[in-house]
């Protein structure tokens, strides 16, 4: 984790309401930076923000986030609103976590696990 009071989570979303929901769900755990999807230079933006975790709801942006995350070893959670499931970038590969319902609590748990699991390593 970089030197911040609170971990920073980049929420890259095509559906802005998701950003609202995650900011509320992660309250007290992390600061959220909501980034609208399909921005040019998402990779560069992530590099300058150096988030402690990334949550994304768009396949295309998930691929960009994964490229950054493999390099920076940052946890990424992909929320598929259409398919109503979660995937997590684990050791460079997308995997379905044990709990994959797209509730705010599950996402919060995955983000917390990703951030603090990473810190412990």
């Amino acid at each position: 984790m970089t030197e911040r009071n609170e971990p920073l989570v980049a929420v890259v979303c095509a559906v802005p309401i998701l950003g609202e929901a995650l900011t509320a769900a992660l309250d007290g755990l992390a600061e959220c930076k909501v980034i609208p999807a399909r921005q040019p230079e998402l990779g560069g933006l992530l590099k300058s923000l150096q988030p402690d975790a990334i949550v994304v709801d768009d396949e295309q942006e998930a691929a960009v986030a994964a490229t950054y995350a493999r390099f920076a070893r940052t946890p990424v959670i992909n929320v598929s609103l259409r398919e109503q499931r979660l995937t997590r970038l684990e050791d460079g590969k997308w995997e379905a976590p044990d709990e994959s319902d797209i509730s705010p609590e599950t996402i919060r748990n995955l983000v917390a696990g990703g951030i603090y699991g990473r810190r412990a390593n």
């Binding site: 559906v15 802005p16 309401i17 995650l22 900011t23 509320a24």
Partner: protein, 228 residues
């Protein structure tokens, strides 16, 4: 409208918004968004049953209804409460089809929004509804117009299809699904020769040049049955 006593003690009258959505993320998102606004109060429902009870109880002035609401869908909820409450019913969905927009409006919804709407956009839309406007973004209006044109085209195609006999329509239904004459003959228990004769009549009556054109015509006239 009898909405019961306001739930807060303030003098300001808040607009009560029901968000009926099976996905907690959307309910939490709208809750978080409206919490910052002093002129809205939020109610939540997770399925058609819960939402129906709240709407028929007169608890909300605006309902934001998920198209895929558990328990029958947004159209089912709109159809159930239409005419039985004075709530402004707004259906919302992720990347909706033009048909779903049109179906929602014809079912009785007062507007349609995409779930991809921005937070400020949603607030503006809700304030507009409270002021008597019908929310329909430009994209949605475009989809509606396209859907209406589609309905007109279908209606014309159905008129043309009226010249076909019931047997010819049956044959054409098979053709639209890519069936060969042999398969059709077997399915309808008639000879392959008879199927060919039906096909010739179909092409002549519809004034189309080919089997493929006849199949395309069938899909345009009976889209739902053909694609089901």
């Amino acid at each position: 409208m009898d909405l019961g006593p306001p739930t807060n003690g303030s003098l300001m009258r808040r607009t009560r918004v029901l968000v009926a959505d099976g996905l907690p993320l959307f309910r939490v998102g709208v809750r978080s968004l409206l919490r910052r606004e002093s002129d809205f109060e939020l109610l939540e429902a997770t399925d058609v049953e819960e939402a129906t009870a709240l709407l028929l109880g007169g608890y909300a002035e605006i309902a934001l209804v998920d198209l895929d609401l558990p328990g029958g869908g947004g159209h089912e909820l709109v159809a159930r409460v239409r005419g039985r409450c004075r709530t402004h019913l707004i259906v919302w969905a992720l990347e909706p089809s033009r048909e779903s927009v049109l179906e929602s409006i014809t079912a009785g919804a007062h507007g349609f929004l995409q779930k991809e709407i921005s937070g400020p956009g949603l607030i503006r839309a809700l304030r507009g509804v409270a002021a008597g406007e019908a929310p329909l973004s430009r994209d949605m209006a475009g989809l509606m117009i396209a859907a209406i044109h589609g309905l007109e085209a279908r209606s014309k195609a159905l008129e043309r299809a009226a010249v076909l006999s019931e047997r010819e329509k049956e044959v054409l239904a098979f053709v639209s699904r890519g069936a060969r004459n042999r398969d059709i003959a077997e399915a309808l228990d008639i000879s392959e020769f008879t199927v060919k004769r039906h096909m010739q009549n179909i092409l002549q009556k519809l004034d189309v040049p080919s089997r493929r054109a006849a199949a395309a015509f069938y899909v345009s006239a009976y889209r739902e049955e053909a694609t089901a």
